[in-house]
Protein backbone atom coordinates (compact mmCIF):
# COMPACT_ATOMS: atom_id res chain seq x y z
CA UNK A 1 0.00 0.00 0.00
CA UNK A 2 1.25 3.46 -0.79
CA UNK A 3 1.56 5.84 2.10
CA UNK A 4 -0.74 8.87 1.99
CA UNK A 5 0.78 11.90 0.30
CA UNK A 6 2.04 14.51 2.67
CA UNK A 7 1.06 18.13 2.45
CA UNK A 8 3.85 20.70 2.55
CA UNK A 9 3.91 24.46 2.79
CA UNK A 10 6.18 26.68 0.77
CA UNK A 11 6.43 30.26 -0.40
CA UNK A 12 6.03 31.38 -3.97
CA UNK A 13 6.76 35.08 -4.51
CA UNK A 14 6.34 35.65 -0.77
CA UNK A 15 2.94 34.03 -0.71
CA UNK A 16 2.47 31.14 1.66
CA UNK A 17 0.94 28.19 -0.24
CA UNK A 18 0.35 24.56 0.55
CA UNK A 19 0.71 21.64 -1.82
CA UNK A 20 0.91 17.89 -2.02
CA UNK A 21 4.54 16.84 -1.88
CA UNK A 22 4.28 15.08 -5.25
CA UNK A 23 3.24 18.22 -7.08
CA UNK A 24 5.54 20.33 -9.21
CA UNK A 25 6.19 24.00 -8.55
CA UNK A 26 4.31 24.74 -11.78
CA UNK A 27 1.16 22.88 -10.68
CA UNK A 28 1.09 24.68 -7.35
CA UNK A 29 1.72 28.06 -8.95
CA UNK A 30 -1.15 27.46 -11.37
CA UNK A 31 -3.47 26.35 -8.58
CA UNK A 32 -2.72 29.65 -6.90
CA UNK A 33 -2.99 31.72 -10.05
CA UNK A 34 0.67 32.67 -10.06
CA UNK A 35 1.84 33.11 -13.64
CA UNK A 36 4.75 31.03 -14.94
CA UNK A 37 5.12 30.89 -18.72
CA UNK A 38 5.40 27.44 -20.36
CA UNK A 39 5.62 26.09 -23.89
CA UNK A 40 6.70 22.47 -23.88
CA UNK A 41 4.58 21.48 -20.89
CA UNK A 42 1.02 20.35 -21.57
CA UNK A 43 -1.32 18.77 -19.07
CA UNK A 44 -1.84 15.12 -19.93
CA UNK A 45 1.57 14.61 -21.54
CA UNK A 46 4.85 13.54 -19.96
CA UNK A 47 7.22 16.23 -18.71
CA UNK A 48 9.84 17.27 -21.23
CA UNK A 49 11.49 20.26 -19.57
CA UNK A 50 13.16 21.57 -22.69
CA UNK A 51 11.79 25.03 -23.44
CA UNK A 52 13.16 26.49 -20.18
CA UNK A 53 10.52 29.22 -20.13
CA UNK A 54 9.28 28.10 -16.75
CA UNK A 55 12.61 28.74 -15.01
CA UNK A 56 12.28 29.94 -11.42
CA UNK A 57 14.63 30.80 -8.59
CA UNK A 58 14.56 28.31 -5.75
CA UNK A 59 16.13 28.74 -2.32
CA UNK A 60 19.20 26.61 -1.80
CA UNK A 61 20.07 26.41 -5.50
CA UNK A 62 21.94 29.03 -7.45
CA UNK A 63 20.91 27.35 -10.67
CA UNK A 64 17.53 28.33 -12.07
CA UNK A 65 15.18 25.34 -12.09
CA UNK A 66 12.38 24.37 -14.46
CA UNK A 67 9.13 24.72 -12.53
CA UNK A 68 7.45 22.03 -14.64
CA UNK A 69 10.07 19.48 -13.66
CA UNK A 70 10.80 20.40 -10.04
CA UNK A 71 8.89 18.97 -7.11
CA UNK A 72 7.84 21.19 -4.22
CA UNK A 73 9.37 20.68 -0.79
CA UNK A 74 8.65 21.87 2.73
CA UNK A 75 9.74 25.50 3.30
CA UNK A 76 10.92 25.98 -0.26
CA UNK A 77 11.18 29.62 -1.31
CA UNK A 78 10.35 30.10 -4.97
CA UNK A 79 10.62 33.32 -6.93
CA UNK A 80 8.97 33.59 -10.32
CA UNK A 81 9.50 37.19 -11.30
CA UNK A 82 12.92 38.49 -10.30
CA UNK A 83 14.70 40.75 -12.83
CA UNK A 84 17.03 37.85 -13.65
CA UNK A 85 14.15 35.54 -14.52
CA UNK A 86 12.29 38.16 -16.51
CA UNK A 87 15.44 38.81 -18.54
CA UNK A 88 15.97 35.11 -19.23
CA UNK A 89 12.37 34.66 -20.31
CA UNK A 90 12.58 37.49 -22.77
CA UNK A 91 15.84 36.18 -24.18
CA UNK A 92 14.46 32.65 -24.59
CA UNK A 93 11.43 33.99 -26.44
CA UNK A 94 13.59 36.19 -28.64
CA UNK A 95 15.81 33.24 -29.52
CA UNK A 96 12.76 31.16 -30.43
CA UNK A 97 11.57 33.90 -32.78
CA UNK A 98 14.98 34.29 -34.35
CA UNK A 99 15.52 30.58 -35.03
CA UNK A 100 12.78 30.12 -37.61
CA UNK A 101 10.45 32.33 -39.62
CA UNK A 102 7.66 33.61 -37.41
CA UNK A 103 5.71 36.06 -39.50
CA UNK A 104 2.65 36.33 -37.29
CA UNK A 105 0.65 38.54 -39.63
CA UNK A 106 0.39 35.77 -42.23
CA UNK A 107 0.34 32.78 -39.84
CA UNK A 108 -2.65 30.45 -39.57
CA UNK A 109 -2.31 30.56 -35.79
CA UNK A 110 -2.26 34.37 -35.49
CA UNK A 111 -4.25 35.16 -32.35
CA UNK A 112 -4.19 31.56 -31.12
CA UNK A 113 -0.45 31.05 -30.89
CA UNK A 114 1.11 30.38 -27.50
CA UNK A 115 4.45 31.82 -28.59
CA UNK A 116 2.83 35.05 -29.73
CA UNK A 117 0.74 35.29 -26.57
CA UNK A 118 3.73 34.78 -24.31
CA UNK A 119 5.76 37.34 -26.22
CA UNK A 120 3.02 39.87 -25.63
CA UNK A 121 2.65 38.96 -22.02
CA UNK A 122 6.40 39.03 -21.34
CA UNK A 123 6.89 42.34 -23.12
CA UNK A 124 8.94 41.13 -26.08
CA UNK A 125 8.49 44.00 -28.51
CA UNK A 126 11.68 43.62 -30.49
CA UNK A 127 14.31 40.95 -31.07
CA UNK A 128 17.88 41.86 -30.14
CA UNK A 129 19.55 39.02 -32.03
CA UNK A 130 19.58 38.63 -35.78
CA UNK A 131 17.10 36.31 -37.47
CA UNK A 132 18.45 33.15 -39.03
CA UNK A 133 15.87 32.96 -41.84
CA UNK A 134 16.34 29.24 -42.49
CA UNK A 135 14.87 27.94 -45.73
CA UNK A 136 12.47 25.22 -44.69
CA UNK A 137 9.84 23.80 -46.99
CA UNK A 138 6.27 22.97 -46.02
CA UNK A 139 5.05 19.40 -45.98
CA UNK A 140 1.73 19.43 -47.83
CA UNK A 141 1.66 15.72 -48.61
CA UNK A 142 -1.05 14.89 -46.09
CA UNK A 143 -4.64 15.35 -47.32
CA UNK A 144 -5.87 16.56 -43.95
CA UNK A 145 -3.00 18.36 -42.26
CA UNK A 146 0.10 20.35 -43.06
CA UNK A 147 3.44 20.93 -41.40
CA UNK A 148 5.13 24.30 -41.63
CA UNK A 149 8.55 23.82 -39.99
CA UNK A 150 9.11 27.57 -40.19
CA UNK A 151 6.83 27.93 -37.16
CA UNK A 152 8.07 24.93 -35.20
CA UNK A 153 9.69 25.60 -31.81
CA UNK A 154 10.62 21.93 -31.19
CA UNK A 155 8.52 21.66 -28.07
CA UNK A 156 7.91 17.95 -28.92
CA UNK A 157 4.27 18.10 -27.91
CA UNK A 158 3.37 16.45 -31.24
CA UNK A 159 5.96 13.72 -30.62
CA UNK A 160 4.63 13.03 -27.14
CA UNK A 161 0.91 13.10 -27.91
CA UNK A 162 1.37 10.82 -30.91
CA UNK A 163 3.47 8.39 -28.87
CA UNK A 164 1.83 8.54 -25.46
CA UNK A 165 -1.83 9.08 -26.31
CA UNK A 166 -2.36 7.88 -29.88
CA UNK A 167 0.32 5.19 -29.64
CA UNK A 168 1.55 5.70 -33.19
CA UNK A 169 4.87 7.47 -32.56
CA UNK A 170 4.83 8.92 -36.04
CA UNK A 171 6.81 12.02 -35.04
CA UNK A 172 10.27 12.35 -33.62
CA UNK A 173 13.11 14.84 -33.71
CA UNK A 174 16.05 14.33 -36.08
CA UNK A 175 19.52 15.86 -36.10
CA UNK A 176 21.10 17.84 -33.32
CA UNK A 177 21.48 21.40 -32.14
CA UNK A 178 20.28 24.12 -34.43
CA UNK A 179 19.67 21.56 -37.21
CA UNK A 180 16.97 19.66 -35.31
CA UNK A 181 13.67 19.12 -37.07
CA UNK A 182 10.49 17.18 -36.42
CA UNK A 183 10.04 14.30 -38.85
CA UNK A 184 7.46 11.62 -39.59
CA UNK A 185 8.73 8.03 -39.90
CA UNK A 186 12.05 7.92 -41.78
CA UNK A 187 11.62 11.56 -42.76
CA UNK A 188 8.99 10.43 -45.22
CA UNK A 189 6.42 12.93 -46.45
CA UNK A 190 3.67 12.92 -43.81
CA UNK A 191 1.06 11.80 -46.33
CA UNK A 192 3.11 8.66 -47.01
CA UNK A 193 3.71 7.83 -43.37
CA UNK A 194 2.65 4.28 -42.60
CA UNK A 195 2.31 4.80 -38.87
CA UNK A 196 0.09 7.91 -38.90
CA UNK A 197 -3.59 7.21 -38.25
CA UNK A 198 -4.67 10.73 -39.25
CA UNK A 199 -6.22 11.23 -35.82
CA UNK A 200 -5.24 14.90 -35.71
CA UNK A 201 -4.08 14.94 -32.08
CA UNK A 202 -0.71 16.44 -32.94
CA UNK A 203 -2.39 19.29 -34.78
CA UNK A 204 -4.44 20.22 -31.74
CA UNK A 205 -1.58 20.27 -29.26
CA UNK A 206 0.86 22.28 -31.38
CA UNK A 207 1.38 25.62 -29.60
CA UNK A 208 2.15 27.52 -32.81
CA UNK A 209 1.07 27.42 -36.44
CA UNK A 210 3.52 24.63 -37.31
CA UNK A 211 0.83 21.97 -37.51
CA UNK A 212 -2.59 22.88 -38.85
CA UNK A 213 -5.58 21.47 -40.69
CA UNK A 214 -5.54 21.85 -44.44
CA UNK A 215 -7.83 24.63 -45.53
CA UNK A 216 -7.35 26.86 -42.50
CA UNK A 217 -6.47 30.37 -43.61
CA UNK A 218 -4.59 33.11 -41.78
CA UNK A 219 -5.66 33.40 -38.12
CA UNK A 220 -8.19 30.56 -38.45
CA UNK A 221 -6.54 27.93 -36.23
CA UNK A 222 -8.58 26.72 -33.26
CA UNK A 223 -7.19 24.14 -30.89
CA UNK A 224 -9.42 21.58 -29.22
CA UNK A 225 -7.57 20.00 -26.35
CA UNK A 226 -10.24 18.70 -24.01
CA UNK A 227 -9.56 15.21 -25.32
CA UNK A 228 -6.16 15.16 -23.70
CA UNK A 229 -6.88 15.16 -19.95
CA UNK A 230 -9.92 13.00 -20.73
CA UNK A 231 -7.97 10.31 -22.56
CA UNK A 232 -5.16 10.34 -20.01
CA UNK A 233 -7.67 9.82 -17.24
CA UNK A 234 -9.55 7.05 -19.03
CA UNK A 235 -6.33 5.17 -19.76
CA UNK A 236 -5.07 5.69 -16.23
CA UNK A 237 -8.16 4.02 -14.81
CA UNK A 238 -7.54 0.92 -16.83
CA UNK A 239 -4.08 0.29 -15.38
Amino acid sequence: MTSPTRVVTLRIDDREVSAREDETILQVARDNEIFIPTLCCLEGLSTWGACRLCLVEVSGSNKLLAACATRVAQDLEVKTNTPRILAYRRTILELLFSERNHVCSVCVANGECELQNLAQRCGVDHIRVSYRYPELSLDLSNDLFRLDPNRCILCTRCVRVCDEIEGAHTWDVMGRGIDCQVITDLKAPWGESKSCTSCGKCVHVCPTGALSQRGTAIAEVHHHRDFLPYLTQMRGERD
Binding site: T170, W171, D172, M174, G175, I183, T184, K194, S195
Partner: protein
Protein backbone atom coordinates in the same frame (compact mmCIF):
# COMPACT_ATOMS: atom_id res chain seq x y z
CA UNK B 1 -5.25 -9.06 -26.20
CA UNK B 2 -5.44 -11.05 -29.40
CA UNK B 3 -2.16 -12.77 -30.12
CA UNK B 4 0.12 -11.19 -32.64
CA UNK B 5 2.73 -13.01 -34.62
CA UNK B 6 5.62 -10.90 -35.76
CA UNK B 7 7.78 -12.69 -38.23
CA UNK B 8 10.48 -10.47 -39.48
CA UNK B 9 12.51 -11.49 -42.44
CA UNK B 10 15.76 -9.90 -43.51
CA UNK B 11 15.36 -7.48 -46.41
CA UNK B 12 17.42 -9.68 -48.77
CA UNK B 13 19.45 -12.91 -48.68
CA UNK B 14 22.63 -10.87 -48.33
CA UNK B 15 24.61 -12.84 -45.74
CA UNK B 16 25.55 -9.65 -43.92
CA UNK B 17 22.09 -9.45 -42.36
CA UNK B 18 23.11 -12.42 -40.24
CA UNK B 19 25.64 -10.19 -38.50
CA UNK B 20 22.94 -7.63 -37.77
CA UNK B 21 20.58 -10.32 -36.53
CA UNK B 22 23.27 -11.67 -34.23
CA UNK B 23 23.77 -8.25 -32.68
CA UNK B 24 20.08 -7.88 -32.08
CA UNK B 25 19.65 -11.37 -30.72
CA UNK B 26 22.57 -10.93 -28.35
CA UNK B 27 20.60 -8.05 -26.85
CA UNK B 28 17.34 -9.97 -26.65
CA UNK B 29 15.91 -8.04 -29.63
CA UNK B 30 15.29 -5.25 -27.19
CA UNK B 31 14.84 -1.64 -28.21
CA UNK B 32 17.73 -0.70 -25.93
CA UNK B 33 19.99 -2.37 -28.48
CA UNK B 34 19.17 0.31 -31.05
CA UNK B 35 22.48 2.17 -31.00
CA UNK B 36 24.54 -0.99 -30.93
CA UNK B 37 22.55 -2.42 -33.83
CA UNK B 38 22.98 0.75 -35.87
CA UNK B 39 26.73 0.52 -35.21
CA UNK B 40 26.65 -3.01 -36.49
CA UNK B 41 24.84 -1.94 -39.68
CA UNK B 42 27.21 0.99 -40.19
CA UNK B 43 30.26 -1.23 -39.83
CA UNK B 44 28.84 -4.04 -41.93
CA UNK B 45 27.27 -2.10 -44.78
CA UNK B 46 29.18 1.18 -44.50
CA UNK B 47 26.06 3.30 -44.14
CA UNK B 48 22.43 3.19 -43.05
CA UNK B 49 19.81 3.27 -45.79
CA UNK B 50 16.03 3.28 -45.41
CA UNK B 51 15.84 -0.48 -45.93
CA UNK B 52 18.25 -1.13 -43.07
CA UNK B 53 16.64 1.47 -40.80
CA UNK B 54 13.17 0.00 -41.39
CA UNK B 55 14.41 -3.51 -40.74
CA UNK B 56 16.09 -2.52 -37.49
CA UNK B 57 13.03 -0.54 -36.41
CA UNK B 58 10.73 -3.45 -37.03
CA UNK B 59 12.99 -6.04 -35.46
CA UNK B 60 13.52 -4.02 -32.30
CA UNK B 61 9.88 -2.87 -32.25
CA UNK B 62 11.01 0.74 -32.23
CA UNK B 63 9.23 3.58 -34.07
CA UNK B 64 10.73 4.51 -37.43
CA UNK B 65 11.03 8.16 -36.51
CA UNK B 66 12.94 7.34 -33.34
CA UNK B 67 15.39 5.21 -35.27
CA UNK B 68 15.86 8.04 -37.75
CA UNK B 69 16.29 10.51 -34.90
CA UNK B 70 19.06 8.42 -33.35
CA UNK B 71 20.73 7.77 -36.71
CA UNK B 72 20.89 11.49 -37.47
CA UNK B 73 21.92 12.56 -33.96
CA UNK B 74 25.29 10.83 -33.93
CA UNK B 75 27.96 11.96 -36.37
CA UNK B 76 29.27 8.42 -36.51
CA UNK B 77 26.31 7.22 -38.56
CA UNK B 78 25.95 8.06 -42.22
CA UNK B 79 22.82 7.63 -44.30
CA UNK B 80 24.62 7.72 -47.63
CA UNK B 81 27.31 5.46 -49.05
CA UNK B 82 30.74 6.80 -48.19
CA UNK B 83 33.71 7.32 -50.50
CA UNK B 84 36.84 5.14 -50.36
CA UNK B 85 38.58 7.66 -48.12
CA UNK B 86 37.19 9.84 -45.40
CA UNK B 87 38.33 13.15 -44.03
CA UNK B 88 36.72 14.32 -40.80
CA UNK B 89 37.38 17.98 -40.04
CA UNK B 90 36.82 18.98 -36.43
CA UNK B 91 34.81 22.18 -36.06
CA UNK B 92 34.71 22.16 -32.26
CA UNK B 93 35.56 25.34 -30.39
CA UNK B 94 39.33 24.93 -30.22
CA UNK B 95 39.61 23.87 -33.85
CA UNK B 96 37.23 26.60 -34.92
CA UNK B 97 39.46 29.21 -33.33
CA UNK B 98 42.56 27.66 -34.89
CA UNK B 99 41.11 27.81 -38.39
CA UNK B 100 38.87 24.78 -39.08
CA UNK B 101 36.84 26.92 -41.46
CA UNK B 102 39.93 27.60 -43.61
CA UNK B 103 40.55 23.85 -43.79
CA UNK B 104 37.01 23.23 -44.98
CA UNK B 105 37.26 26.01 -47.57
CA UNK B 106 40.55 24.57 -48.85
CA UNK B 107 38.98 21.13 -49.21
CA UNK B 108 35.98 22.58 -50.95
CA UNK B 109 38.29 24.53 -53.25
CA UNK B 110 40.49 21.57 -54.15
CA UNK B 111 38.03 18.68 -54.19
CA UNK B 112 34.66 20.45 -54.54
CA UNK B 113 33.05 18.78 -51.51
CA UNK B 114 31.55 20.23 -48.35
CA UNK B 115 30.87 18.33 -45.09
CA UNK B 116 28.37 15.53 -45.64
CA UNK B 117 29.33 15.18 -49.31
CA UNK B 118 31.29 12.64 -51.34
CA UNK B 119 33.24 13.39 -54.51
CA UNK B 120 31.67 12.29 -57.81
CA UNK B 121 34.42 9.69 -58.35
CA UNK B 122 33.55 8.25 -54.93
CA UNK B 123 37.11 8.72 -53.69
CA UNK B 124 36.60 11.11 -50.81
CA UNK B 125 33.90 11.83 -48.23
CA UNK B 126 34.18 14.93 -46.09
CA UNK B 127 32.55 15.02 -42.68
CA UNK B 128 32.58 17.62 -39.94
CA UNK B 129 32.52 16.77 -36.26
CA UNK B 130 32.24 18.76 -33.05
CA UNK B 131 35.35 18.17 -30.97
CA UNK B 132 37.08 14.87 -31.54
CA UNK B 133 38.90 15.13 -28.21
CA UNK B 134 42.25 16.28 -29.59
CA UNK B 135 41.96 19.96 -28.86
CA UNK B 136 45.73 20.19 -28.15
CA UNK B 137 46.28 19.42 -31.84
CA UNK B 138 43.83 22.03 -33.10
CA UNK B 139 42.93 22.32 -35.88
CA UNK B 140 42.51 18.55 -35.93
CA UNK B 141 41.49 16.29 -38.81
CA UNK B 142 40.98 12.54 -39.04
CA UNK B 143 41.98 11.02 -42.37
CA UNK B 144 40.97 7.39 -42.78
CA UNK B 145 40.93 6.94 -39.03
CA UNK B 146 44.27 8.65 -38.31
CA UNK B 147 44.23 11.82 -36.27
CA UNK B 148 46.38 14.65 -37.55
CA UNK B 149 46.90 18.03 -35.96
CA UNK B 150 48.23 21.55 -36.39
CA UNK B 151 47.35 21.45 -40.06
CA UNK B 152 47.54 24.36 -42.45
CA UNK B 153 45.13 24.34 -45.40
CA UNK B 154 48.03 23.58 -47.77
CA UNK B 155 49.39 20.61 -45.81
CA UNK B 156 45.89 19.19 -45.43
CA UNK B 157 45.16 19.37 -49.16
CA UNK B 158 48.56 17.83 -49.96
CA UNK B 159 47.97 15.08 -47.43
CA UNK B 160 44.51 14.23 -48.74
CA UNK B 161 45.81 14.24 -52.32
CA UNK B 162 48.47 11.74 -51.33
CA UNK B 163 45.90 9.50 -49.59
CA UNK B 164 43.45 9.34 -52.44
CA UNK B 165 46.25 8.99 -54.94
Amino acid sequence: MCPQTVRNEAPSDDKRWKIINATMRRNGDDSHALIETLHSVQETFGYLDDVALSYVAKSLRTPLSRVYGVATFYHFFTLKPQGEHSCVVCTGTACHIKGAQALLSAIKGSFGVAPGETTADNKLSVISARCIGSCGLAPAVVIDGNVMGNLSPQTLVARVEREIG
